[in-house]
């Protein structure tokens, strides 16, 4: 492979950073839309790590998995958004703190 090679460790570092940011967002954000977005960020961090690892080993598997992850993310989000719509209709808010009938 020619051209500029970014070392795998750097990409993995970036991916870990993204993952950590997503996780933080997941925990501090109270709006369901933002929570879903944080999940997307985390998922893409995983996908990025796969791509870079695939490049490192010179295998197509990394990119294949990336595409699989995209599909999975689409499925997750479509159901997620459907539920968000229902939440908006039921509770008139997207703040998760208002949905606290269950104690956990």
């Amino acid at each position: 492979m020619d051209g500029l090679q970014v070392p795998m460790e750097h990409v993995l570092g970036l991916a870990s950073l993204l993952f950590a940011m997503g996780l933080t967002g997941l925990m501090v954000r109270r709006n369901i839309l933002f929570v879903l977005m944080s999940l997307e960020v985390m998922l893409n961090a995983g996908a990025l790590a796969f791509v870079s690892a695939g490049a490192h080993w010179g295998q197509p598997d990394g990119q294949v998995v990336f595409m699989l992850i995209l599909t999975v993310a689409a499925a997750e989000v479509s159901v997620g958004l459907g539920l968000v719509l229902q939440v908006q209709r039921r509770f008139q808010t997207l703040d998760v703190d208002n949905a606290t009938r269950l104690r956990g």
Binding site: L43, A53, V79, G80, L83
Partner: protein, 478 residues
């Protein structure tokens, strides 16, 4: 791929084809009973298709799937559990107005995901099965969309389960970066030679991701809420199929890749197992909602089951431990399905509202002797009293633990079981208290649901009294 190949994955084909068929059917004609019966038939066909599939195994169907007797055994189990869920859900959905056809479709898809997990021999199949099962479950949990609790439970499950999947994916990405392979045997071979600190971190992330779905401590927070919010048949499905499938997949990966040889991981799993037994049982004591009690008890049960993973790593011949896991999963699936189904039926039979608090059980034994007796048997099986499947499962765990000399975990198992008795017996006791007068109208559940419950409880007793045949099957196929 030759012709034989197709037979080896016949259950997968039946389920996928059935799902497409059902979608077309629903598009053509909205008819709840029709789609109910179709779904039931598809699931029954999937379970039955394991029989001819036996001729074609073992073989790897693409690197993704491994068709062997292990896969077929769990396929049959999950298909039967799915069938039971479908049969009893009809009863549960009976009163609900609006379109219910998709409910059955979702159960079908979720079961397909579980079956994929039973076959999975590669990261991609694992992820695909897990997501297929999970995404369908989000929708199933939130299905009664006019109510607030299920919706909230669905959101909660979605967020936490997605986070778990992502943790799992990220862990696997790290593992892939370290070893460069994605199939289980390849990982095993690479692990044997590699020595990399990233390995343990990635394995821990993967186990954590799966641990979320199994609801073991410290990843258990979602369980009580989701159990409480979800419709009763779906809670049973979640407990039986979803957890069972994840555990089956984890066990296969654990064995195929020799994960237990990673130093530190075994200790980690042992700690998680011990913590789950203690925390699950102790917190169950504090609950006054039946579904929440059962939720915490399921945390404890998953802790018991993890003993098997630890034992697998410590004994020379892991056959006994694998059999223990399979037997325990069968017993636990049947029992929790029965418990939640009966809970659903009892609620309907004792008025329209959902049975929620322990107080609602008061006097049920005298108002609904038949169903209550079945529920009592299910509770005793969860508690592990002899003559029920739960006891034989526990006995198997004891054997596996003794073979691995896991004295600490065994001690916790004994303590946990003793604590568990308290909250199971408390429910039995409530039921036997003298209750109020007869409620105005006692509605008898329909015959399919009742028959299914009797069937489940009979199966539980059969497995408890005559465990020999299933043990022999397990011994030959595992």
């Amino acid at each position: 791929m030759s012709g034989v190949n197709w037979w080896a994955i016949a259950p997968l084909l039946v389920l996928s084809g059935g799902a497409v068929l059902l979608m077309l059917l629903v598009a053509a004609r909205r008819d709840t009973p029709l789609s109910w019966i179709t779904t039931a038939l598809i699931l029954a066909a999937a379970a039955l298709s394991c029989l001819p599939a036996r001729e074609a195994i073992p073989q790897a169907v693409t690197p993704l799937l491994m068709a062997d007797s292990y896969a077929l055994f769990f396929t049959a189990l999950f298909a039967i559990c799915g069938l039971v869920t479908v049969i009893v859900s009809h009863e549960y959905l009976g009163e609900r107005h609006g379109e219910n056809e998709e409910f059955f479709l979702l159960v079908l898809l979720s079961t397909l995901g579980a079956v994929t997990l039973a076959y999975a021999n590669h990261f991609v199949a694992l992820l695909l099965g897990m997501e297929l099962m999970g995404v369908s479950l989000y929708a199933l949990i939130g299905y009664p969309d006019k109510l607030e609790l299920p919706l909230e439970a669905a959101i909660k499950y979605l967020v936490l389960s997605a986070a778990a999947s992502i943790t799992f994916v990220f862990g696997f990405a790290l593992l892939y970066a370290a070893v460069g392979v994605l199939d289980y045997p390849g990982i095993g071979a690479a692990l044997a030679s590699a020595d990399n600190p990233v390995l343990l971190a990635s394995a821990a992330m993967i186990v954590a991701g799966l641990g979320y779905k199994l609801s073991v401590v410290p990843f258990h927070m979602w369980t009580p809420d989701v159990y409480e919010g979800a419709p009763a048949p779906i809670t049973g499905f979640l407990a039986a199929v979803s957890k069972g499938a994840i555990f089956a997949a984890l066990l296969r990966w654990w064995m195929a890749s020799g994960l237990y040889e990673l130093p530190g991981l075994l200790t980690l799993v042992a700690l998680v197992a011990g913590a789950s037994m203690l925390v699950g049982n102790l917190l169950a004591l504090l609950q006054d909602n039946i579904k929440r009690v059962l939720a915490y008890s399921s945390i404890a049960h998953m802790g018991y089951l993890l003993i098997v993973l630890v034992a697998c790593g410590l004994v020379a011949d892991p056959h006994l431990a694998k059999e223990a896991a399979a037997y325990y999963l069968v017993a636990y699936s049947l029992t929790s399905l029965a418990a939640f189904t009966l809970l659903g039926l009892l609620s309907r039979a004792s008025g329209s509202k959902e049975l929620a608090s322990l107080d609602d059980l008061t006097g049920l034994f005298w108002r609904q002797p038949g169903l209550s007796l079945l529920f009592t048997v299910a509770l005793l099986s969860l508690a592990g009293i002899p003559l029920t499947a739960g006891f034989v499962g526990k006995f198997y765990l004891f054997s596996a633990g003794v073979a691995g000399s896991l004295w600490g975990l065994l001690a916790l198992l004994v303590i946990g079981s003793a604590i568990g008795l308290y909250y199971y017996l408390r429910m039995v006791y409530r039921m036997t208290l003298a209750g109020d007068a007869q409620p105005a109208a006692v509605e008898r559940p329909g015959w399919p649901a009742r028959l299914t419950c009797y069937g489940l409880v009979l199966a539980m007793l059969y497995l408890g009294i005559v465990p020999g045949p299933l043990m022999e099957i397990l011994r030959t196929i595992l």
